[in-house]
Symmetry: C2
Subunit: 462 residues, 2 copies
């Protein structure tokens, strides 16, 4: 294609040779199928919907128009009106009887944290009886929660706001990794950490946030994607930028210096701290795209450890659910696949917004955490462009020559190509109390997309 | 090469197709020539040196064995014994009469900072006379300095130590970008900032460093390379990790909270702050490889704005110099190529150690600062493996499937291939007082490598 110039290396040719060489590696199976069985009629119906193109354009524009800023940190009782006995959780609605181990463990720990029981084990009876407690999805309260996603009234929440509309979303503070409540652990150390977070960390963050310039969470996400984070399972740079933005104001807040130092050590020692800002920033953007008649765009993907659910712009608040899958990945210590619970958490909101698993090309180091290979990571981002409506001009991937992240999952494209959204995720132990056992790669159950498509088809005007 | 399985996408095939497509882009000229003219006899002589292989192995091992930790921050008068009238500068030795504009500007500002003159302009006479002042390379005092690299007695220095040998290197504190002393600016704001750095920032950093755990600078470099920094012109993640490691101890140092907050804002607002730790960490590693008879490894590349010099392990302290080149890159505001001084600074110590321009593949976003394209950045790192002795197992590039950075420039390989080391760099204005005008890509003058080769050949035992 190019004629070699004497004495000049052709860089393109080098890359070509590398690609040829790469053919020698074993064929990778990726999750691809022809159009999903039985979707032909619904695909045809939705294709004739005269509202669809404009509706999807509106949905994309609304989503991309949101700039999320961190405007406050406050207890859930205050900002969500959460009352004693009310528990939020990740994913679509679920009852105790169907709840997985890690969700049960987190609820039990939450009940002890709120003083409803002294011993978390005693909370089992409380939840089985159900008379004095309620379970509700975070998503139904303008919130998101990673893993079990349990929120109780005394937990402090990040409050994010869209400057233009004033709409808000919320997320709890990240506890770190390992034995933590969101992974279903509820030992005394877990509860002690949560109490310190409510007594010291939350108020300090509030003081910082209220006196610092508003933290531009969307802008930090833009930078992170140029710093090896994909903002689901790598949030290192994001965490450090949050610390950079808040530390000076925390220092001059008048708080005890040793508390400030402890808070900075806690944040700096937890590479995932920023996840709990990335998630509500993604929800804030996606909420702007909700409830647009005719739009086939997914506005939420969420898992409660039993069910995986999606919500779609054109079908309102309806959840389309199927069984959550177990991730394929790498395990901590002696844990193995049999120890892992099915997929859990609202954190797939990052993939719904076009980052996380969708942006793995920009975070190739993540394969050391979630498994797979670097070429897989690059290929995954390229593949996700096949099922999305747009590229996000603010969130670009340098190594793909600054291409925007694949944004706005289209139910029709998923059904037409059979390509499922790629999620990367932490893995919780299946038994209550265990905590994290690994991290890996997972997809939604395929059948929820045809279900959503059928609902969209049923709403097409005659 | 692979037989497609029905209904299975071959990821390799996708990448193959992309590479084919990439062939359609214009051929990139890269700096490649046949073996450098006139080097045949010296290449043959060095090839017969029975000490060479073992010497280069020793040099590489010594370099890779160094772990740099930040152990102190203190004035240059204290840790370098620098006395009034003594000035350190970047690059090989030079006199005032041959000094470039930015070096002159920085020396004039330095003289005012030390109170030798009231007005920086008055320092011209002082340096022309030369009786009361001396100029000496940073490299001759176990130090390195970015850009002009001027160090005066009152400036505070980072002190890095190799835990195993106790050897130390030093570097001043980074002032930020734009109108700053190291780029040759010397206005009142420049001097005011430097005085605050000596009065407030330096002592605060010392308090932090002395009470925190030793900061593992080599380890931060390892992380940075997985976070989009190449540690010469991108040091964002490194700066934030330094802040993470020192902030808690600074907070509890007993210093005034508003000073601590100002220091954290200064560090957090200067993405290049960590450069002044990356540089002495690289020098510490390379110094371990000095003075090994028979070794053809480059142990320093440095520029004073007029001359580009290298030192080689097997030839002791001798500098091989040639004219510094003007970088090709991107300019700030209305500045253009005519405003740029020739290449200046000790910061090419990063490339000498295998990062900076040699690690651009891991920092593709840098092309927005220094110019070029993302494929160029990837190709540059691959090309540098052609002229280096080893891969650094600690410093790996995720997108190149975790290949170690190309490490240990071999004079013989440079002469044999004609491939010159790729440096990325800031550009100073050619007139004293201007400051930064841009950033770009540059190479050493080719002739210094045959000069070094000749000196190595002359030392081969008969």
């Amino acid at each position: 294609m190019t004629s070699p110039l004497t004495g000049v290396v052709n860089v393109g040719a080098d890359m070509f040779a590398d690609a040829v060489e790469a053919q020698a590696v074993p064929v990778e199976r990726v999750d691809w199928r022809p159009p999903m069985a039985g979707t032909e009629a619904d695909l045809a119906a939705v294709a004739t919907d005269p509202r669809r193109d404009a509706a999807n354009r509106r949905a994309v524009e609304a989503m991309l128009g949101v700039t999320a800023t961190l405007v406050d940190v406050a207890p859930a009782s205050e900002v969500l009106g959460l009352e004693p006995g009310q528990f939020l959780h990740a994913g679509p609605p679920i009852e105790w009887s169907r709840a997985s181990g890690p969700l049960r463990g987190a609820l039990m720990g939450g009940a002890a944290l709120e003083g409803l029981v002294d011993d978390p084990e005693d909370a089992v009876a409380l939840f089985e009886d159900g008379g004095s407690v309620t379970l509700e999805p975070c998503h139904h309260r303008s919130a998101v929660g990673p893993m079990a996603g349990v929120v109780t009234p005394s937990m402090w929440m990040f409050v994010l706001e869209d400057a233009e509309t004033g709409r808000r979303t919320h997320c709890s503070l990240n506890e770190g990794l390992g034995k933590v409540l969101r992974y279903g652990a509820y030992g005394p150390d877990v509860l002690e950490r949560l109490r310190w977070m409510s007594a010291v960390l939350g108020p300090l963050l509030r003081a910082g946030v209220r006196s610092a310039d508003p933290v531009d969470v969307t802008g930090i996400l833009t930078q992170m994607l140029q710093m090896g984070d994909e903002a689901h399972n790598r949030n290192r740079a994001g965490t450090l930028m949050l610390m950079r933005d808040l530390a000076p104001a925390m220092v001059t807040s008048g708080a005890d210096a040793s508390d400030v130092a402890a808070a900075l050590r806690f944040i700096g020692g937890n590479d995932h701290f920023f996840l709990n800002l990335a998630m509500p920033a993604c929800k804030l953007a996606l909420d702007a795209a909700r409830d647009i008649e005719g739009s086939t765009m997914v506005v939420a993907m969420a898992r409660n450890g039993t069910d995986f659910g999606i919500q779609v712009s054109g079908t309102g608040d309806e959840w389309f659910t199927g069984p959550a899958q177990v991730a394929d990945g790498l395990f901590l210590g002696d844990y193995g696949p049999d120890d892992a619970n099915a997929d859990i958490g609202d954190s797939a909101i990052t993939e719904t917004a076009g980052i996380g698993g969708f942006a793995m090309a920009t975070a190739p180091a993540i394969v050391r955490l979630v498994g797979g290979t670097v070429p897989d990571a690059l290929a995954t981002t390229r593949r996700m462009h096949e099922i999305t409506l747009a590229e996000n001009p603010r969130w670009s991937v340098p190594v793909l020559e600054f291409q925007g992240t694949p944004t706005g999952i289209d139910v029709t494209r998923v059904c037409r190509t059979g390509i499922l959204p790629q999620i990367n995720t932490g893995m919780a132990g299946r038994e209550a109390g265990v905590g994290q056992v690994g991290a890996g790669l997972v997809t939604p159950p395929a059948e929820i997309f045809p279900s959503a498509l059928a609902a969209l088809a049923a709403r097409v005007p005659n």
